[in-house]
Amino acid sequence: MKKIIFVLIVATCLYPWEIFIVANKRFPKNDLTPKAVKAIFLDKKRFSGGKKILAINYAFNDPLRECFERTVLKKSRRQLELYWLKAHYKGKRPPKVVKSEKMLLKYLQKVDMAVGYTATPPKEGDMTKILYKSRCE
């Protein structure tokens, strides 16, 4: 068991994940800056091209979410918990949560303004596009 964990840690260090910020093909922008991604997932930016954005996240303990928070949002868990506590007082909510990339893809295909992130690039014919790409630190 210890060997497997060691191999996994080494593999993760050697081949760090990539994070793809993805959206429906009809999303009004073709790329996003890191600041824009951060603003969308922290509920600081709600509209784009006059349409309401639907940010989608993964469950609290999902490793990809941990990586996203650390790399893209650049905030620790504690900072985010306090951030959303303050947001609650201001009438803001964290993004909607899905259980898997498969579910995220369904949302992205059906909702024009849905934005999420995946560890694998979307396939041709998925009706999605990549808005930003980052490497997990």
Binding site: T33, K35, A36, K38, A39, K44, K45, R46, F47, S48, G49, G50, K52, N57, A59, F60, K74, R78, Q79, E81, L82, W84, L85, K86, A87, H88, Y89, K90, G91, R93, P94, V97
Partner: protein, 315 residues
């Protein structure tokens, strides 16, 4: 209600009324976009007549639909634990409308767009139970009117204009009762460093005119948070409060444990008081939505030196 019961109830509420996903409080009313939540705070202040009281019991409700956003807050404040007197106030009630992607219009009663502390002025969200002198003496904490916010560079910079040209929505719930308040605010964010400029004019209901202006900074380091604000206020003929400021350093000693030091300095010429206030506090936050705080406050002139202790929770 005894202190132990309050402690237990606060802790229980903060656990029960949480969102499904994370540790974020708030409860979604099924089949609606509405959320309800609130916060409570009970504190002990050695210098107060009612030493132990609920200084805040508030119910929050909010939701958004298309380009509209609703937020309300009803508060029962300063309830002595031994009495049954209740004072219910509308602390905030506002509707927001997103005019453009980066432009938002607010209508109703809301926190004035002034300073850092005033943006989240409740016990559970702050590092100390007591608040700085500026919070009661420089500007009206709440405004009933219209406000427009314009953000730039994905919210990194923000400018706001607020206009009140009417009476307060709840005349009894504000630190300064006014019927005119015009203010401008500017906020700039550079990673973990944020600075703000604010200024405005208000007319109190006893027909006195005041102007105020101030600046503030907040910087988050890995283990420290630095917060500082400096304001000045001028009456019709003279400077009522030439300066009023504070510097606060919060040391995140260990996970859940913070140590806070605050140094305040002000000169209130209308009251003929010029003094320094020092605060040393400790906060235990076993979970983000529940905190236990204790602090010692020392005044250089007024005989208000005291210990303050509080329990607060958000749900």
């Amino acid at each position: 209600m005894k202190l132990k019961q309050i402690l237990f109830l606060s802790y229980l509420l903060s656990f029960i009324l949480k969102a499904d996903d994370t540790l974020i409080p708030g409860y979604n009313i099924p089949q609606t976009p509405l959320y309800v939540g609130g916060y409570i705070s009970a504190n002990y202040d050695g210098k107060r007549e009612d030493k132990l009281l609920f200084d805040d019991i508030a119910l929050l409700f909010y939701g958004n639909y298309e380009k509209f956003d609703l937020l309300g807050e009803i508060e029962i404040s300063d309830v002595p634990l031994k009495k049954k007197a209740l004072r219910i106030h509308t602390e905030r009630f506002r509707i927001a409308y997103y005019l453009y992607d980066d432009t938002t219009l607010y209508l109703g009663k809301f926190n004035s767009n002034t300073g850092f502390w005033n943006q989240i002025p409740i016990n559970i969200l702050e590092d100390t139970t007591t608040y700085p002198h500026i919070m009661e003496n420089i500007f009206p904490k709440l405004t009933t009117g219209i406000s427009i916010y314009q953000s730039f560079e994905e919210g990194e910079r923000e400018i706001s204009l607020t206009i009140q040209h009417n009476n307060d929505l709840d005349k009894h719930y504000n630190n300064i009762i006014v019927d005119r308040h015009y203010s401008l605010g500017y906020k700039d964010t550079m990673d973990e460093f944020v600075w703000r400029l604010s200024g405005g004019y208000y007319k109190s209901v006893d027909n006195r005119d005041y102007f105020y202006a101030g600046a503030g900074i907040r910087k988050e380091f890995l283990n420290y948070t630095l917060l500082s604000e400096l304001f000045t206020k001028r009456g019709e003929k003279k400077r009522d409060i030439p300066y009023d400021g504070y510097l606060q350093l919060t040391w995140h000693m260990f996970y859940m444990h913070d140590l806070v030091f605050r140094s305040e300095f002000y000169n209130d010429e209308s009251m003929k008081i010029k003094e320094n206030i020092s605060l040393l506090g400790y906060t235990f936050r076993p979970m983000p939505s529940f905190s236990i705080k204790t602090e010692y406050i020392r005044h250089s002139k007024l005989s208000k030196n005291r210990f303050v202790f509080s329990i607060s929770a958000m749900f």
